[in-house]
């Protein structure tokens, strides 16, 4: 067993074993039947690829054990519960709702608000719920641009095919949002999808009743490099390449080879799965607690590392050549976090970066019960 695994708190899949039953739930204030004294969980997907739902299987045999200790009250990917079923549940009756996916439609908003109302704890599960995720890269275009692109210029909404009785498909929000921008989030299990170890950690904490402070992200506070076995020799960037341009050396740090690895700014917890497999970290576990905006942190780090010989005036043109090799900055540095770190606003249109201005005004901010901002 690796040293890292040993160091991991008791929640790692290997150490899951038979987790002791949690007394807290027996004495819990909610009306309990013997059967229902197992904590009730809901798993829900919004704008997601489905990978998060499948990720539970990654935990391996231990998942059987976990599932035997909980009661699943709502999980569309497993059963076929209806919205009405959820609406019928008393507020706060679900112990924890694990929500994955980006928030992209009006229906997503309604559903997560409903879940928030019914659940004691809401967990943002996976990178989409945590930060916006890959689907939120769509925010680089306006809703109108996207619909125009997919449906063709001059598209128009038709009546529901089954007549007015049928539900119309839900409206797209002006842009994709992470869960926390819609409802209050208590915990986060990050990743795209969350790695088995972190899922295990979460359930272990949850089932043992030893949950950390609200707001906790189930991943390491230290960056990925800490658990990455790759060797770091000469820490300079003499060139920047994209993954398809290079068959990386199996031992050497990818960043040192010119690949933009976000390991230095991304929370550990995945055992550096991507770098181990020769792919640079794209940041799915989200930035470390004090990194702030991970893209800007990396801009500073990468620009610092660039060297074209000794630093000096003569080196400037060559340095810029290297820096110019960094393309698709947003896609590279904010693959999972566009709505979290790159606020889209009329500023963006005024800066005239991407095509025509959006006809829609400032996107409405759905959601209620949100705290008032500090900088108003």
């Amino acid at each position: 067993m690796r040293a890292e695994d040993e160091a991991r708190p008791k929640g790692s899949p290997d150490s899951m074993g038979p987790t002791p039953y949690v007394a807290r739930h027996e004495n819990s204030a909610s009306p309990v039947t013997r059967h229902a004294s197992r904590p009730k969980i809901a798993v829900y997907w919004t704008g997601s690829c489905g990978g998060c739902d499948v990720s539970f299987l990654e935990v391996g045999e231990a998942i059987v054990d976990i599932l035997s200790q909980v009661e699943i009250v709502f999980w569309p990917a497993l059963a076929d519960p209806k919205r009405e079923d959820l609406e019928a549940m008393p507020p706060g009756s679900i112990d924890v709702a694990l929500i994955n996916g980006t928030i992209r439609t009006e229906e997503n908003v309604e559903m997560v608000e409903l879940l928030r109302e019914k659940a004691k704890l809401v967990v943002a599960y996976g990178a989409c719920a945590h930060l916006g995720g890959v689907p939120s890269l769509a925010n680089l275009s306006t809703r109108e641009e996207i619909l125009g692109e997919v449906l063709g210029e001059g598209w128009r909404r038709g009546p529901p095919p089954g007549g007015p009785e049928e539900d119309a498909p839900p409206d797209l929000l002006p842009r994709a949002l992470p869960l926390s921008q819609v409802v209050r989030v208590d915990y986060t299990v990050p990743g795209c999808p969350p790695p088995a170890g972190l899922i295990g950690e979460f359930f272990n904490a949850f089932l043992s009743g030893e949950m950390p402070e609200p707001g906790y992200v189930f991943a390491k506070a230290k960056a990925l490099c800490e658990e990455c076995p790759r060797t770091r020799e000469e820490r300079v960037l003499k060139r920047i390449v994209r993954p398809h341009e290079l068959l990386p050396d199996p031992e050497e740090c990818l960043l040192d080879q010119g690949l933009i690895c976000l390991g230095p700014v991304t929370r550990g917890g995945c055992n550096a799965a991507c770098p181990q497999a020769g792919m640079p970290c794209t940041g799915c576990l989200g930035p470390t607690p004090k990194a702030g905006d991970p893209g800007l942190a990396m801009i500073s780090a990468l620009a610092s590392l660039v060297r074209a010989g000794e630093e000096g005036e003569e080196a400037i043109p060559k340095e810029d050549e290297i820096l110019d090799q960094l393309v698709d900055l947003i896609g590279t540095l904010y693959k999972y976090g566009v709505p979290t770190f790159c606020p889209l606003s009329p500023e963006r249109e005024r800066a005239g970066v991407r095509g025509k201005a959006s006809p829609s005004p400032v996107p409405s901010q759905p959601g209620r019960g949100r705290r008032k901002g500090g900088a108003a």
């Binding site: 607690p289 620009a303 340095e319």
Partner: protein, 153 residues
């Protein structure tokens, strides 16, 4: 409506640009009062995140003042600053910020006049650009909340 007065935050290297601004003072040169200087040990201390943060907090422009190439007190901090600003300016448009709102200038301790000129010029340029993100306060509020939520307090 009165003329738009841009707000500028200036991160000034203590060895050169800050001292250059001091010299502008002792020489009683006049320049517009739109800039609030913040003293840093070297332009190489300035982080791109500070710059963007200042702009999101309501600055209309950010000035970074460092030593001329070859003169950095710490040898190469200014080269690092230059590379960081170069890369930052590439991503600013993507973040909805005009790159011209960020300026990196080399001002030596003996260039009081140049400091005054740089500020005057920057103020004029920002006046022409107009206020940053007019009407986009909503997104700023969101950001703050997000960061609080994200970092779990």
């Amino acid at each position: 409506m009165a003329e738009f007065e841009p707000k500028i935050v200036a991160f000034l290297c203590r060895w050169c640009a800050y001292a250059g601004a001091d010299l502008a003072g002792t020489s009683r040169l006049k320049y517009p009062p739109n800039v609030v200087p913040i003293r840093v040990p070297c332009s190489g201390r300035v982080e791109p995140a500070w710059v963007v943060d200042a702009l999101r907090q309501g600055a209309d422009g950010v000035l970074i003042g460092g030593c001329h190439p070859g003169d950095c007190h710490y040898v190469s901090g200014n080269y690092k600053a230059r590379r960081r600003v170069y890369l930052l300016k590439k991503i600013l448009p993507e973040l909805g910020i005009e790159p011209d709102r960020v300026r990196l200038e080399w001002v030596s301790a003996s260039e009081g006049k140049r400091f005054a000129e740089v500020v005057a010029d920057f103020v004029a340029e920002l006046r022409a650009l107009g206020p940053i993100g007019a009407g986009s306060d909503a997104s700023r509020v969101t950001r703050d909340e997000e960061s609080t939520a994200l970092r779990g307090g």
